[in-house]
Subunit: 371 residues, 2 copies
């Protein structure tokens, strides 16, 4: 790529820009050592219609697709996120779904469509972000589809494997199980509530707080190692990532498992950045932490007897988990308990798709919604 | 769905419209009898983040993604194709890539994004088309992503399996191999050249010809059975589907395999409908048949000694194949030979993406291009 070739057609981009990122894949072993061997016999470097994996032994294969929707582009359109960042995000969003099932990723397919005003530099940035996120997630971008569209469209598919029959689902929680989360939630939602209105409202947060909000978007992490501990050792009874926000995730596990949950307000891990944005918005910080936000933490349930050993396994791997509640019979519903055990409905605005209701939290809000 | 609920949000569509098509998948055996068993242990009916397959034995896993691009919507936007038709097309486009590798599909993931003016009836139609195409292709829609976007976006991913190490690629053709195609090409391109200009140009083709043009879009077929014969019995040395048009496909196999091709003009199977449209456009029918058109035929090469047995295997299965040329050393290039063996460059306009150059074939043509 040179500065003078600002635009190229799709074959040109494949030849010049994509190939650089996708070399020497074919023949790679893409499975972790503890799982039956999977070899990427035909990778993206072969430039064929599909990737081909040679699978040796019995495994569970996990596969899901995620479109990166309009709302996630607000900060990109504001210029706060770069092409690199949204490419990175696309991969993590897809790998996170694999992680939530307790699987290790073996590859990602990416669909990148762009309007004519996306030049080669910008396209290269998106590809570089995809490549870096795959590397950071321990996997490879094995193919997909690139070309023209009216506006930037990013969609992906991730594949993963785990021991056969050991995958995690949303539906396995039972009353008495302990509810956990891998880390603080709400940062990405807080960033979307903050940046588009910052200048108009004269908001000024310290640089390190703004950085924390931005980094949540720029370098999210799919919780693969956490999911693997939960599946491999059988700790997890149910699991889901928080791509719809913490409240929505708890509600969805409850519905899928037919249980209720008591959530302990004081146990919810809080990010200082979320607390600062909540102050600006004049809303309760816990409410903001529970609302629509794609933090890609894992929410999971484990048998109460496993809490200590699971916590130890996380600690030994340098990972974090927080006990935030317990599963109850479904008739109890989903409740938030304060420090005096007074119950109230779980606060927060769940991601409803088609309307980003987090705007209802934001004063004088024109919605930061998709579309 | 009732006539009064013209619009619903995404959770509503999932609950009411999607679920009806995706019931009772979990637990299905999705592999053909001749291959190691693959069970869809968690299907779309589980409404989890991902689908999960339990894979018993050694297989090659084939996976690819296809975005259905702007150009493919021209006839939809004209009202000539329905929501059902484009849903159907999306699945076939993705399964066709699996078929071209010699694999049997085990599932399709579909990303369906739509603007607010797509009502529940239209959304239901798209889902019904997807469902029908999966059924007709012998597979299941195991998940994906639905929701809002600025305009209709359809993207998909297909997964397939074949005997380990037996998949077909573009790169295996050698000089002396025989070049074949499963059927006539150019119908979809002819339809795009015809319908948008029909009324303005006062063109009137007989109903059965128009029907053949439309059916090429409405009910394309992924050549799974053909691909399976080529891989299972080892006939195919290289294979690719004609989603970019016959000329582009031959060129791509030539490049990947480092061979040339002599193509026998008189052997190319011709569709009567393509010939009729070529007359209207005042272009050579063979040229139109070779140009950009996503017919999803398979182009493949086989060892010359296998032609008879391969032809018999196709006939025995009720399938067609046509010998249309032979591979040569790459220095010979790609040539079209007429009945007197006079060579000329292969005619036709290859799909170049970003610009649908078939418009250069069309008189007074405003381009039926993507965008």
């Amino acid at each position: 790529m040179t500065a003078t070739s600002a635009f190229s057609d799709e074959p040109g981009r494949v030849a010049q820009l994509v190939t650089a990122f996708l070399s020497a894949q074919s023949g790679s072993v893409v499975s972790p050592a503890e799982l039956p061997e999977v070899v990427l016999s035909v990778g993206a470097d072969a430039r064929d219609d599909c990737a081909i994996y040679d699978v040796s032994g019995p495994v569970s294969l996990v596969v899901g697709s995620d479109y990166v929707r309009g709302a996630k582009f607000i900060l990109y359109e504001l210029g706060v996120l770069s092409g690199f960042d949204i490419g990175y995000y696309l991969v993590v969003a897809n790998v996170s779904d694999i992680a939530a099932m307790g699987a290790a990723p073996i590859g990602v397919l990416t669909v990148i469509r762009y309007p004519n005003d996306v030049d080669d530099r910008e396209f290269h940035e998106i590809m570089a972000g995809i490549h870096q996120a795959c590397t950071d997630s321990g996997t490879l971008n094995v193919g997909g589809d690139i070309g023209n569209a009216e506006r930037v469209v990013l969609s992906g598919t991730a594949l993963g494997i785990c021991e056969r029959g050991k995958s995690l689902q949303r539906s396995g929680a039972g009353p008495g199980d302990v509810l956990c989360v891998t880390g603080p939630c709400g940062l990405l939602g807080a960033a979307v509530a903050y940046f588009p209105k910052r200048d108009a409202n004269g908001w000024t947060l310290p640089t390190d707080v703004e950085q924390a909000l931005l980094d949540s978007w720029r370098r999210p992490r799919a919780r693969v190692a956490e999911g693997r501990i939960l599946s491999l050792y059988g700790y997890g009874t149910a699991c889901q990532d928080t791509s719809d926000g913490l409240k929505a995730t708890i509600e969805q596990i409850a519905a899928a498992s037919d249980v209720g949950f008591d959530v302990f307000e004081d146990s919810i891990p809080m990010s200082a950045a979320v607390e600062r944005v909540a102050q600006l918005l004049d809303v309760d910080a816990t409410t903001l932490a529970l609302s629509a936000s794609s933090d890609f933490q894992l929410v999971f349930t484990i048998d109460a007897a496993s809490v200590d050993s699971c916590t130890e396994a996380f600690l030994a791997a340098g990972l974090t988990m927080y006990v935030i509640g317990k599963a109850t019979p479904s008739a109890h519903g989903i409740r938030m308990l304060d420090r005096d055990s007074n119950p109230r409905p779980l606060p927060g605005v769940a991601w409803k798709h088609q309307s980003t209701d987090i705007s209802t939290l934001v004063p004088d809000g024109d919605s930061p919604s998709p579309a």
